[in-house]
Symmetry: C2
Subunit: 315 residues, 2 copies
């Protein structure tokens, strides 16, 4: 029988799970709840039980299962240790070893944002590129760097955390990480709102955004409708985004940059907005990148988890 | 007999060559001139002849030579193709294939700055670290990024060119690459002079640097002697350096940062100058890096070239 892989995306509320073949085709997909009681100690046994049940139901022999990949909400060391995952109640959890003992299978553990990036690289917007940067523009800015087809995880699992590269001096509002002037303070959906509020404060022009709370989507919608300050805000947003991505590209020299997350619902206009600033800031030797949108949505996690274990067992 | 490797550092004037064992011990070292006439077409035959002569003199059998690594002054694609090396007169040169045909040996080609970084990582200041950033602070700022023990070369061989990450908006003097505000415009030896000139222009204080041309070394010497504007200049230099390195560290999460190049003759004070700014700008999850000085000097190139081919043949 063909070999299979389990991909697991462990979230604070649900555990998404998928069964894949070696080519990344999704054979099955399901969810179980994340039981966070008892310090999160039930989570891995629940996952192991669900894997065993699925294998039994589908008549999959143990020797045909290559292993289990799992993305977790926290930094990960050596594809095993999770020093802290606040949302799960985990601390110094040897998640890889534990799940391996529970299932009798090889297990690889990765940070969920990194793993999702790996999924997009394997089967999504980054398919076909060996060197790429994947950026999630959501509440924050998440990143994943793929070098020669593999995730760059760094010394302590914080590799590719491009949301916290220092972009601007003189910022007065702190980032969630405690520093000032991080890329994510401007380029996330929340950052877009911050940028727009500043544009409104500088401008005397009428705007449909004035005198109310608004979202990133509202800004792009208003800009599309011709609202001048909103248009200015999207342009400035694009400047920050292009500059931050140019910095990453100058260090990493990727073939492609893949953008995902809620902000990309704005569509192709995002590329139009960021490209002038990217061109202005990037090292010319790294300027020639392909621009892509992520395509897997919230399935990127299980796909990437399957790839993580595939890479581990296949080298 | 034990297996050996040849490491070649191809410069515009001389070709440095070395013979190494697999553990990186240097068995022999010599130089030949770089003959640039005839579009640089003599260079690789000269290198091949020198390798064969050395092997013959030392009684080394063909099967005991693992291969030849070579660092060249230009970007390199796929450890073979050199699209352009202005100093050598090369254009679209399949240097790896050609030298392999000339010698009958496996050959790996890399960019000289990257290869030198690999040398420092293997046997120099970065020894023992699997993930690190190596930075050469000389006339320009060169970089090399080691991920999981391997060089990050990027899509077109420009990976790790951190000298050209965009550091400052509003710069009025262009960088050699044509952009404005590159890291190297502030953090190279030349950059230190630029920074000092600006400090002098802002300050009314007396300084031994006024009214004459001066070098990076002059600035650090004057600062050590208590010259106030020179001291201010070294502090500002440290701010730029720390900020740029913080950006790299936030993206790459290295275990160690290794500094080399002429500016590091200033010594450990360089770390004192850059650390406050590094701490202020770095993502806290990436803040814990070891600081090292490069130790191989101009031998880093041959050592790294030997490692490049060792990695290729040993996987």
């Amino acid at each position: 029988m063909a070999k299979v892989l389990f991909g697991v995306d462990l979230g604070g509320t649900t555990v998404k799970m998928g069964l894949f073949d070696e080519e990344g085709a999704r054979l099955s997909e399901w969810e179980i709840p994340t039981r966070k009681e008892e310090g999160g100690s039930l989570i891995l046994p629940d996952i192991a039980a669900s894997i065993q049940k699925t294998a039994a139901e589908r008549g999959i022999a143990r020797e045909d299962i290559l292993g289990v990949g799992i993305g977790v909400p926290g930094a990960v060391v050596d594809e095993d240790l999770v020093p802290q995952a606040v949302n799960l109640g985990w601390k110094d959890k040897r998640a890889g070893r534990e799940l391996s003992e529970l299932t009798g299978l090889p297990v690889a553990v990765g940070n969920d944002a990194n793993v999702a990036a790996l999924g997009e690289a394997w089967q999504g917007g980054g398919k076909g590129f060996r060197n790429m940067l994947l950026v999630t523009l959501g509440t924050g800015v998440g990143g994943g760097v793929i070098v020669d087809g593999k995730l760059l995880t760094g010394a302590t699992g914080a590799g590719g955390e491009i949301g916290h590269l220092h972009l601007e001096d003189g910022e007065t509002e702190p980032c969630g990480c405690g520093q000032y002037g991080c890329f994510e303070e401007y380029a996330s959906a929340t950052g877009a709102v911050r940028v727009a509020k500043r544009v409104l404060a500088e401008s005397g022009d009428d705007s449909s955004l004035r005198g109310r709370e608004f979202t990133c989507k509202d800004i792009f919608d208003a800009a599309a409708a011709g609202d001048a300050p909103a248009k200015k805000a999207t342009e400035r947003y694009g400047e920050y985004l292009g500059k931050g991505l140019a910095i990453c590209a100058s260090v990493l020299n990727p073939e492609a940059i893949v953008l995902g997350g809620g902000v990309t619902k704005a569509g192709e206009i995002l590329f139009d907005l960021l490209k002038p600033s990217f061109a202005k800031c990037v090292f010319p030797g790294c300027a020639n990148v392909e621009w892509k949108l992520a395509t897997l949505g919230n399935q990127a996690g299980i796909v990437g988890a399957a790839k993580l274990i595939l890479d581990q067992v296949r080298g």
